[in-house]
């Protein structure tokens, strides 16, 4: 049996006759369950289950695509979130229940595809079936007659050649007084169907196992910084299960410059970024350097990895000196953009060199537009850059060796010195300015990094950073290949018509030959009648068109 028993093209089930079935043994039960699993109804049920099961992943943030959203969800819904987490609602697409559905679906699919492949293989090698006795009972049927004197055999020879040209497989069945040809075409339909389903299995297997050989890593680079493709140099790194560290080619990547173009002509989009360019120098492990530009839709494919530009922002350069004037801290700190005008938030941590550990929460406004607090930014480029710092002193909590996020300041063990309720104004700096820290701790400066610093034109006064994703996925090409196979298989299986056609010639008493043309659809075949009519017409053209005007053939 090639198709599931409840497939529309399979024979209808025998009506229940009320006779007691023999008792099923263990193997019988297994066979029964297998039948159920590979039935069309189960496949359909599993497909609909899969569609429904995929929905929650779009309603609740997912750890895979939106880890910050998950953290936020836990903060916003402290009671609900742990319950959802128990049923893997934050990892829907790797959850046990989602996996169960698609694994069952694929088992059902494989259980259906294997017998069908076998059956199809045999069908490909079998001959077209014998011509039925009464062709006129078939749904697509045409009649012609020929009195040219040609014999029935000669006419069927013609028809056979004609059908062969159209890609039919043909078989002659001649008897006394009549000749006929049985023809069959459209095996590609089932081939396409099987290719489509097999390609889906291919995609699943490639993604499931092949994905384990790749990795993805993230790294933020401030202009001028260099990153080396080693495990230590990534900000975060997600290796696949079978990933081996030695596979990393230790190439270097330097962010030379990050350029942004803003819209200035169209007032409806004034200040909208219309181009991001990360100009980088990539140096292979052998020492060969190449310059390249990485853009949003234009990754750098280098040394077996793909480097994508994902984000960007400002990295103000901040220098802290002790009361003696010695530099205890100087760095360009990536500030995370908070809105379209690039109001940015960043954290400065000064662990050593001062009387106390110092932490600062900084707000950066590339174009500060308010006369008095609250400040805001009105344009994302550097027209009037202002940095606001709230200073905390005390224990940064990093001495114990517990890793802390560089983008968050734990103020539990710290005392706020400026801003907020302290009564001391927050530190406010423009590029190039320096000011005293409270309590005589020292000084802090917001350094102007432009080639020619000026207070008239702040262009280039603050460095920019870019965040890069580095990926390596050896299976991508395989997935693409399977996807293309699936699409071609799908198109073939939906549009190639599988049909059988017979042409039969019977010599009458008066010497004229009566011709019958009949077709039988196997599966969806809306063009069957037209095809049979066309075959008849090509074989024996009718002298007068019989089709009414305006007839439209679907």
């Amino acid at each position: 049996m090639s198709r599931p028993s409840d497939h529309i093209d399979s024979a209808a089930p025998a009506p229940a006759d009320g006779i007691n079935q023999p008792k099923l043994g263990f193997v019988g039960w297994l066979r029964f369950l297998w039948r159920q699993l590979t039935s069309m109804r189960t496949a359909l049920f599993l497909l609909l289950m899969l569609a429904i099961a995929a929905v929650p992943g779009s309603l609740v943030p997912q750890r895979s695509s939106d880890p910050n959203g998950v953290t936020q969800y836990f903060t916003d819904n402290p009671d609900l979130a742990p319950i959802l987490d128990k049923v893997q609602m934050f990892d829907v697409y790797s959850s046990a229940w989602f996996s169960a559905i698609y694994i069952l679906l694929f088992v059902s699919l494989i259980g259906c595809v294997i017998p069908r492949t076998k059956h199809h293989w045999l069908a490909l090698r079998s001959k077209p079936p014998r011509t039925p006795a009464r062709l006129s009972r078939l749904s697509a049927f045409e009649r012609r007659s020929d009195d040219s004197g040609a014999t029935a055999e000669a006419l069927i020879d013609d028809a056979t050649r004609q059908l062969k040209r159209q890609g039919y497989r043909v078989e002659r069945f001649d008897a006394a007084g009549s000749a006929s040809v049985s023809a069959e075409r459209g095996f590609l339909r089932e081939t396409g169907n099987l290719v489509f389903h097999s390609a889906l299995v291919g995609i699943l297997v490639t993604v499931g196992f092949g994905g384990g050989f790749g990795f993805s890593g993230q790294r933020v680079l401030v202009e001028g910084q260099t990153f080396v493709n080693t495990l230590l140099d990534y900000d975060s790194f997600n290796p696949g299960r079978f990933f081996n560290e030695s596979e990393l080619a230790p190439y270097k990547l330097t962010l030379d410059e990050f350029g942004v173009t803003y819209e200035t002509q169209n007032l409806d989009a004034y200040g909208q970024a219309i181009d991001y360019r990360a100009n980088v120098t990539a140096t292979s492990p052998d020492g060969d350097s190449t310059e390249a530009t990485i853009k949003v839709n234009d990754p750098l494919r280098f040394a077996g990895t793909d480097v994508y530009l994902l984000g960007n922002g400002y990295a103000p350069t901040i220098t802290v000196r002790n009361p003696a004037g010695d530099v205890v801290f100087s760095d360009s700190i990536p500030f995370l953009p908070q809105d379209a005008q690039l109001t940015s938030l960043g954290i400065v941590k000064v662990p050593d060199g001062l009387a106390e550990q110092l932490g600062m929460i900084g707000f950066f406004y590339p174009t500060q537009a308010a006369n008095e607090p609250p400040f805001f930014s009105s344009y994302p480029d550097l027209a009037y850059p202002v940095l606001i710092l709230n200073v905390y002193s005390g224990d940064l909590g990093i001495n114990a060796g517990v890793p802390k996020s560089v983008y968050a300041l734990d103020v539990d063990d710290m005392k706020q010195l400026t801003g907020g309720d302290t009564g001391v104004d927050s530190i406010e700096l423009t590029p190039g300015q320096i000011t005293d820290l409270p309590n005589g701790l020292g000084t802090v400066s917001f350094d102007n990094v432009a080639a020619n610093p000026s207070t008239e034109n702040y262009a280039g006064s603050v460095k920019r950073f870019a965040s890069f994703d580095v990926h390596h996925d050896p299976t991508q090409l395989w997935v693409l290949t399977f996807a293309i196979l699936a699409l071609s298989g799908l198109i073939t299986s939906l549009f190639v018509a599988r049909r059988r056609v017979w042409v039969k010639a019977t010599t009458g008493a008066d010497g004229t030959v009566a011709l019958e043309y009949a077709g039988l659809a196997r599966g969806e075949d809306p063009g069957l009648e037209a095809a049979v009519a066309a075959i008849a017409e090509a074989h024996i053209p009718t002298p007068v068109p019989t089709e009414p005007e305006g007839r439209i053939t679907p």
Partner: protein, 351 residues
């Protein structure tokens, strides 16, 4: 007038003309209902022997298929000869009612206005006119009408006008009123050739699903009527929606819906794959369960289910049609609700 003003003016005019076309199509359905009522009254009064004759008269006077009335509904069961093609969708154009012809003509006029609006918007923006929700709605509905107009030259589905043009009028009117945004340049993420391919094929798939949706709705109505008839076995047809008697039977509608929907499904499959290729270039991974990806996947699975339902005994017919309707509803949900309210990487609604 600027190009954008021309575009906006043409678009609102198109909405107005679509609304008029919708009214004309609705008149046609009402007329069909009235004719059915008249024919049935006549048939009831007369003896069964003469019914055939009257029906013949009716068939000549009316637009499409009156013959299936007889064969389907037992008004004169067994008395009429089955026409060669009992689909009833292959009637000479001369017999179409004036309101139906006006409906089609208005649809063509509205389509041309719509096309001008779409093209001028694209020229004004200097790019393809499908880079935000407003433009996508404009191009998507344009394609629905284009597919509809192409299909009716091959198969007479003019009776679907009420459903298709009604849907287009509502979608386009709502989108223009709620999603309108000024022309702005493309953000870097959208500056890709895949914008042209991925989004266009998605709209094309949506257009085919929309026609399939309309067919499936009519199929469900027709199927209900046919089932009722089978149970009651009365000469009197179901009271409401008498125009259904002049439309193809449920099986024929289902076959048509299937053919339209599988084309939509192929385009949708391509959209999914093209989107994955683009996602790899833009976001560094070809699949990441972004909300829009999730819903595109859900829609794909629903229509895969629909195709399987067509091949499953006990599911062909109304259940399969319901799946097609659920599938198109998911397409609409994906467009409106997911774009506007869900958080994700496909944040290009422009709102």
């Amino acid at each position: 007038m600027t190009l954008v003003e021309i575009s906006n003016l043409c678009l609102w005019s198109a909405v107005a003309v679509y609304a008029l076309a919708f009214i004309a199509f609705t008149f046609d359905l009402a007329r069909r209902s009235a004719e059915v009522t008249a024919a049935l009254d006549a048939a009831e009064r007369a003896q069964l022997e003469t019914a055939e004759e009257r029906v013949g008269v009716l068939a000549n006077a009316s637009s499409t298929t009156v013959s299936p009335i007889i064969t389907n509904d037992g008004v004169a069961r067994g008395k009429t000869r089955r026409p060669a093609d009992d689909d009833g969708v292959e009637q000479p154009a001369a017999r179409r009612s004036p309101s139906l012809r006006i409906g089609v003509a208005l649809t063509v006029i509205a389509f041309l206005l719509h096309l001008v609006a779409d093209v001028t918007r694209g020229i004004a923006a200097g790019r393809v006119p499908w880079a935000n929700m407003y433009e996508f709605a404009m191009t998507g509905t344009l394609l629905i009408v284009a597919v509809f107009l192409v299909v009716i030259t091959r198969v007479d589905l003019r009776f679907l006008g009420t459903f298709v043009i009604g849907l287009v009028t509502v979608l386009l009117g709502l989108a223009t009123a709620n999603f309108y945004v000024e022309v702005v340049p493309l953000p870097p993420a959208l500056q890709s050739a895949w914008l042209v391919v991925h989004v266009f094929v998605a709209s094309l798939g949506t257009a085919f699903f929309a026609i399939g949706f309309a067919l499936s709705v009519v199929q469900l109505m027709q199927g209900r009527r046919e089932r009722k008839l089978g149970v009651v076995r009365s000469a009197q047809p179901a009271g409401r929606f008498r125009f259904l008697l002049t439309l193809p039977n449920a099986e024929r509608l289902e076959n048509l819906a299937y053919r339209v929907n599988i084309i939509g499904f192929i385009f949708w499959t391509f959209t999914l794959m093209a989107g994955a290729i683009w996602a790899e270039r833009a976001w560094g991974r070809y699949w990441g369960w972004d909300t829009k990806e999730v819903w595109t996947f859900i829609i794909w699975v629903i229509f895969a289910g629909y195709i399987h339902a067509r091949a499953t005994r006990g599911w062909r017919g109304s259940r399969a049609a319901t799946l097609a309707i659920v599938g198109f509803s998911a397409v609409m949900f994906n467009f409106v609700v997911v774009n506007v309210f869900f958080k994700g990487l496909h944040a290009y609604s422009g709102l």
